[in-house]
């Protein structure tokens, strides 16, 4: 299952924190900064999987290797879009490559909702960000991976606010997360998402 989803920017400022277990606020912050330290030093050519941050690594050593799976979070997957890092912490029951696709769908959904999404949209509409995630994951289990369904689900909860007009400097010139990301990966339809890799 998925233990946490985090979004923070290039400076390590959190934009979304979602822990599927109850965790002290201070510990949450420590974990975020540990992961940021790990992720910020990686070149773009590096793979999208992180070694476990110290907070998680200590306990995972004692896990029993006898069973195929266990409850211990063992996988930290991330993707870097423009100014934002998207992080998913999960157990071994999740597939690493599929999680990469999952993050992609999440970002695509945001892009669809905000039309050329950028970090500012997420700052000012962090409720929508949570709502989008809530359509995809409930309690750490993925409930939806189809882009259309996610977008419809969020829209059903009400109008999605746009970023305040005076916040945007460049208008069309400001490249969003989506624009940057999908150029390389090919923007497919609902079905094409999974063949993106």
């Amino acid at each position: 299952m998925i233990n946490a989803v985090l979004v923070f920017n290039n400076a390590g400022q959190p934009r979304l924190t979602k822990f599927y277990t109850q965790l002290e606020t201070a510990v949450q912050q420590r974990l975020i900064s540990e992961i940021f330290t790990l992720v910020a030093n990686r070149p773009n050519s590096a793979c999208n999987f992180l070694p476990l941050p110290p907070l998680l690594a200590s306990a995972s050593k004692s896990s029993t290797p006898t069973t195929q799976h266990n409850d211990t979070p063992s996988l930290v997957t991330y993707r870097h879009y423009a100014t934002l890092y998207f992080i998913v912490i999960s157990t071994s029951t999740e597939s690493p490559l599929a999680l990469l696709d999952f993050i992609q769908v999440f970002v695509q959904a945001l892009d669809r909702l905000f039309e050329n999404v950028c970090e500012l949209d997420l700052i000012f509409n962090f409720e929508t960000l949570h709502a989008t995630l809530g359509e995809m994951i409930v309690g750490g289990v993925v409930v939806e991976t189809q882009l259309e369904h996610v977008v419809t689900g969020v829209k059903a909860q009400g109008r999605v606010a746009k970023r305040p007009v005076n916040e945007s400097k460049g208008g069309g010139g400001a490249g969003g997360l989506g624009g940057l990301t999908f150029g390389g990966l090919g923007r497919g339809g609902g079905e094409g998402i999974w063949s993106g890799r």
Partner: protein, 1029 residues
């Protein structure tokens, strides 16, 4: 008053660069006011702002009641805000959870889908067993809701319910199964159910076998890749239980591998084939060969594909899973795997490192270790300043800084974080590389090593590339031997092990130890920065002492041991040094073939004076171990110095004058007992308890008297006795030097207690002299004592039956040469059957026959299970990882319809755990009850003593004062509440020290004393309540 929206807050943050802290404090203050207003809009906005700030680490637990208020709003937007705040801020100890339950139940029953979705998403975050029990009945009908979105979320929510309250599955599972089997169900819902089944599946795979046909259909027909991946993962746990599935699964899986365009699905197919044991099942058949070739081929393709390091990473993961079972398949890919050891990406390196440990053999060991060593040597050791680049991050732990909007709007070209030059290796990676090297080399009792000179060189080299250790002083005091970042100790242990087990390279190993100990070579031997690798000194010190006769330069070694730098060493190392000093001394002074000339006398006196000078300050060292050893040897050296000065030297004309016997006989005898051999960790337990061993009779029936006597006696006389016991018999032994120093007599008592004797096994390496002394001392007296194990080095000639067993057992092990160690043969076989592996080893092997001593043991080698619980009793409960969601509760609940079996299926562990939990619960309940009664009594007493009316008034006034600061922590119990009010700002513990409330409230003088008592009790009660919950 001007009210800020969330938008204003964020704007404000961005405009207050540098003074965010003040701005945020101000904003939170405003929120505190706004959230108490009656205007729901204002309340919700304030809550939204708080939730936003919570993301940066600002506590909002105090607002939990307000969260509840907003949750109960009838407007969707406000309700959503409330639910989000609840999810983000509610913790296990949030008190309003009980109240939230009703709200959740109410919203689950709501007629509008978006309203239902809110509690469905929130329940997993806040659920506890009692809440689960209560909302269960409301959730189950939602499984058949007309809206697919509600159905799928309900399924998942029920799963989370089951994690804390496994009984959930009894009513819920049949319904979920019904949904799964319903072919007209919305594909989204089916996929969600599959996700849940996959999570449940690995806990209780047997329960899901009946579903296999439906799951198989879904796999074949499905067009949802995410679901297909989950199904494959699920099948991988099912196939071991139902081998017939393999035949059925293989065609669709290979079809997917060949056809799919999604790399993730392709990878998971391969992974499923590996994990499901399908490779083994079809091994040998032509079909099996094809599958193996297909899988490994694809994995290899992933490794070599350019520019996608993710594939490399996951391929390594997959290889890691097959390496134990199919080393051959993996070793064929050795070339590409070894490349990954040097990959610039640390994640990939780590995976490769894990993998090579599994695939190492005698042929590739040198190459692999060489690669890793090169890596360690070429990368600079990270200096502390390196980490400062992320200082800004660390600050966020407490203070969130203003949003930096310069980045947020424009798309930045991805900026490179690293320059081209090889980065310094992070310390933890460095440590793990060193540990892996040691692990690979020492596996199978050095089965893979053919050249021990090389290994010793490697070890010495490893010391130089060790990262500096952190918190040395702190962890040292704790005596924590397993501290993760002390690799120096690990290297030292290896050096020691090699020196003991491999006699043929002992002198080389001692040479290495000598070079490490020498102070004037310290710069050269150890990394220049930090104190990296110094843990090795503990072992090097032991080696130079124990094998002092192998030393090529004993004088400089002695000088180094006595160097003032040694005083700065950790106490554990210093204690070892102290032990080494007399050993080296005895090898330098113990020669009885050389005449006692004036020069020799001067030299020896000088040497002893230096030793005494070194030891004297240590006799008051804070570490008891150091102190004890220092005192012992100080006395010994003083005696020896006396003896030396009292023995007149002969003239230089060639006549032979006997040196003092104390130097040539007594002191060497302390250290030259039997040879030390490795003992198997479980061997001690196998020593049979003799029938006539009486542990009940007191050793000294007069103990009570002695103790009381000792108490009445002054300290000084006591001390005199101690010294007397040292010196008196010692004097007599200078005349009869064959008997060993009587200090050993003090060890006799502990020897009779099994507990303390058990310790001797662990400390054997550290205290070798104790064992040898004890042996020499007891040789005569305890010939038939089974605790006394004779070793081969024993020259007494008296062979007890027991020692013969030991010796015979040893011989068997000792005769093992490197070629007959099983794993080697295995590898030889495998390697020869594979043409891909270069074979370089065979010609060299027979030229050098290395004898490696195995562990000594009694009877057959201890099986691992019994060994483990002797050596390291494992804690029954493993420490839970931070984010872990414990699903172990599911293990005990059967989902299969034919019930009654569920109870039998409880594993032993579950039973124990349950009993333990029940016992704990009973204990806690009793404790709560006891405290309640006590509190009741206390409050009754209070009522008698004081005028209730006055008191109440007072309390009310104070409460108002306090509320703003910590309303959330107001404890529920009345007496405690009063306590908290009395001292609002202080922490609870402080109250004990500062009973301000007493002075304030205790107007009646006569009540003060009794009240103090009562206060203390309530404090305890408060703690007790906290833990009981």
């Amino acid at each position: 008053m001007f009210e800020k929206s969330l938008y204003d807050l964020i704007r404000g943050l961005r405009n207050h660069k540098g003074s965010e802290r003040e701005y945020i404090a101000e904003s939170i203050k405003e929120c505190r006011k706004e959230i108490r207003s009656n205007d729901m809009d204002l309340k919700a906005t304030a809550l939204m702002k708080l939730t936003y700030l919570e993301m940066f680490g600002h506590d909002m637990s105090w607002a939990s009641f307000n969260v509840l208020e907003v949750m109960s709003s009838s407007k969707f937007k406000q309700k959503r805000t409330g639910y989000l705040a609840a999810v983000q801020s509610f913790r296990r100890d949030t008190e309003v959870l009980v109240l939230a339950e009703n709200q959740l139940k109410k919203d689950v029953m709501s007629p509008t889908p978006p309203y239902i979705a809110l509690p469905l998403g929130a329940i997993p975050h806040v659920v506890n067993p009692s809440m689960a029990n209560s909302v269960l009945s409301d959730l189950i009908p939602r499984l058949t809701h007309s809206h697919a979105m509600i159905r799928k979320k309900t399924v998942v929510t029920l799963y989370r319910l089951a994690l804390v309250y496994p009984e959930t599955l009894r009513p819920a599972w049949p319904k979920i199964k019904e949904r799964l089997l319903d072919e007209s169900e919305d594909p989204s819902v089916t996929a969600a159910i599959v996700n849940v089944v996959c999570e449940l599946g690995w806990r209780r795979p047997q329960d899901f076998l009946p579903l296999a046909p439906r799951l198989f259909d879904l796999l074949v027909s499905g067009d949802n890749n995410w679901m297909a991946i989950k199904l494959i993962k699920l099948f991988a746990t099912l196939t071991p239980l139902e081998p017939r599935l393999i035949k059925k699964l293989l065609p669709p899986l290979t079809k997917i591998i060949r056809e799919t365009s999604a790399m993730s699905l392709l990878y998971e197919c391969i992974n499923g084939i590996i994990q499901g044991g399908i490779l083994e099942a079809v091994e040998g058949t032509s079909e099996g060969d094809d599958v193996a070739k297909l899988c490994v081929g694809k994995l290899r393709g992933m490794m070599v594909i350019e520019g996608d390091s993710n594939l490399k990473y996951v391929a390594l993961l997959a290889f890691e899973k097959i390496v134990r079972l199919h080393p051959k398949l993996v070793s064929q890919q050795q070339d590409v795997i070894l490349e990954c050891i040097d990959d610039p990406d640390v994640s990939i390196r780590m995976r490769a490192l894990d993998l090579v440990v599994g695939m190492v053999n005698a042929d590739n060991l040198t190459a692999i270790v060489g690669r890793l060593m090169r890596q360690l040597r070429n990368a600079p050791i990270a200096s502390p300043t390196h980490e400062s680049s992320n200082e800004r991050v660390r600050m966020t732990e407490i203070v969130p800084y203003a949003d930096d909007d310069s980045d947020a709007e424009e798309h930045l070209p991805r900026h490179e974080h690293q320059s081209d030059q090889p980065p310094s290796l992070p310390d933890d990676y460095r440590i793990s590389v060193i540990k892996r090297i040691l692990e690979m080399c020492s596996s199978d009792t050095y089965g893979n090593i053919s050249d021990f000179d090389w290994y010793i060189d490697v070890l010495v080299q490893l010391v130089r590339v060790s990262p500096s250790t952190r918190h040395t002083s702190a962890s040292e005091e704790k005596g924590d031997t397993e501290r993760s970042d002390d690799v120096g100790g690990g290297i030292g242990r290896e050096l020691q092990n090699v020196a003991i087990r491999v006699k043929s390279v002992r002198s080389e190993a001692v040479d290495a130890a000598q070079s490490l100990v020498l102070v004037d070579r310290r710069e050269q031997m150890f990394p220049t920065s930090g104190n990296g690798g110094q843990g090795v000194l503990e072992y090097a010190g032991w080696l130079v002492g124990e094998y002092a006769n192998y030393l090529s330069r004993p004088e400089p070694v002695m000088t180094s041991l006595l160097h003032s730098n040694s005083l700065q060493l950790p106490s554990k190392t210093l204690a070892v040094y102290l032990q080494a000093v007399p050993k080296v001394f005895s090898s330098m002074a113990g020669n009885d073939q050389v005449s006692w000339t004036p020069e020799r006398k001067t030299l020896m006196s000088l040497l002893m004076a230096r030793i005494i000078h070194f030891l004297e300050p240590l006799s008051t060292h804070p570490s008891l171990e150091v102190q004890e050893r220092a005192v012992e040897y100080l006395e010994l050296m003083r005696l020896a110095a006396e003896a030396a000065s009292g023995t007149a030297p002969g003239t230089n004309n060639g006549d032979f004058t006997d040196p003092p016997l104390l130097l040539t006989q007594a002191i060497p005898a302390l250290f030259s007992g039997a040879e030390l051999n490795p003992v198997a960790p479980g061997a001690q337990r196998k020593v049979p308890v003799p029938d006539d061993l009486d542990l009940d009779t007191p050793i000294n029936p007069n103990l009570q008297h002695l103790l009381s006597h000792a108490e009445t006696e002054g300290f000084e006389t006591d001390e005199d006795d101690v010294y007397a016991s040292y010196s008196e018999p010692m004097a007599s032994h200078t005349e009869t030097p064959t008997i060993v120093a009587p200090a050993a007599e003090r060890l006799d008592a502990p020897h009779r207690e099994p507990a303390s004797y058990q310790n001797a096994v662990e400390e054997e390496y550290l205290d070798p002299d104790i064992i040898s002394r004890r042996k020499a001392d007891r040789r005569e007296r305890y010939k038939d004592d089974p605790f006394y194990i004779e070793t081969e080095g024993d020259r007494s000639g008296a062979v007890t039956p027991l020692s013969r067993i030991v010796r015979d057992g040893n011989r068997e092990n000792n005769d093992l040469d490197i070629d007959s160690i099983p794993i080697m043969d295995l590898n030889l076989e495998r390697a020869s059957s594979s043409d891909h592996v270069p074979r370089a080893r065979s010609p060299r092997r027979p030229t050098r026959k290395v004898e490696i001593m195995g562990d000594e043991n009694l009877g057959p080698a201890a099986d691992n299970s019994s060994r483990e619980d002797i050596v390291q009793p494992r804690p029954t409960r493993v420490k839970k990882s931070l984010l872990e969601v414990d699903s172990s509760g599911l293990g005990s609940l059967s989902l299969v319809d034919d019930d009654g079996s569920s109870n039998r299926k409880l594993t032993q562990l579950d039973m124990e755990r349950k009993q333990q939990e029940e016992a704990d619960m009973n204990k806690a309940l009793q404790e709560v009850e006891r405290l309640r009664l006590e509190m009741q009594r206390a409050s009754e007493r209070l009522h008698v003593k004081e005028e209730v009316a006055v008191k109440k008034k007072k309390r009310k006034v104070r409460k108002v004062d306090v509320e703003g600061d910590e309303p959330a922590s107001t404890p529920p119990v009345e007496a405690v509440g009063e306590e908290a009010d009395a001292a609002p700002v202080k922490k609870k513990k402080k109250k004990k020290v500062k009973p301000e409330g007493d002075i304030e409230a205790g107007e009646e003088a006569d009540g003060t004393v009794k009240k103090k008592k009562k206060k203390k009790r309530t404090v305890i009660l408060d703690d007790g309540e906290g833990t009981a919950e």
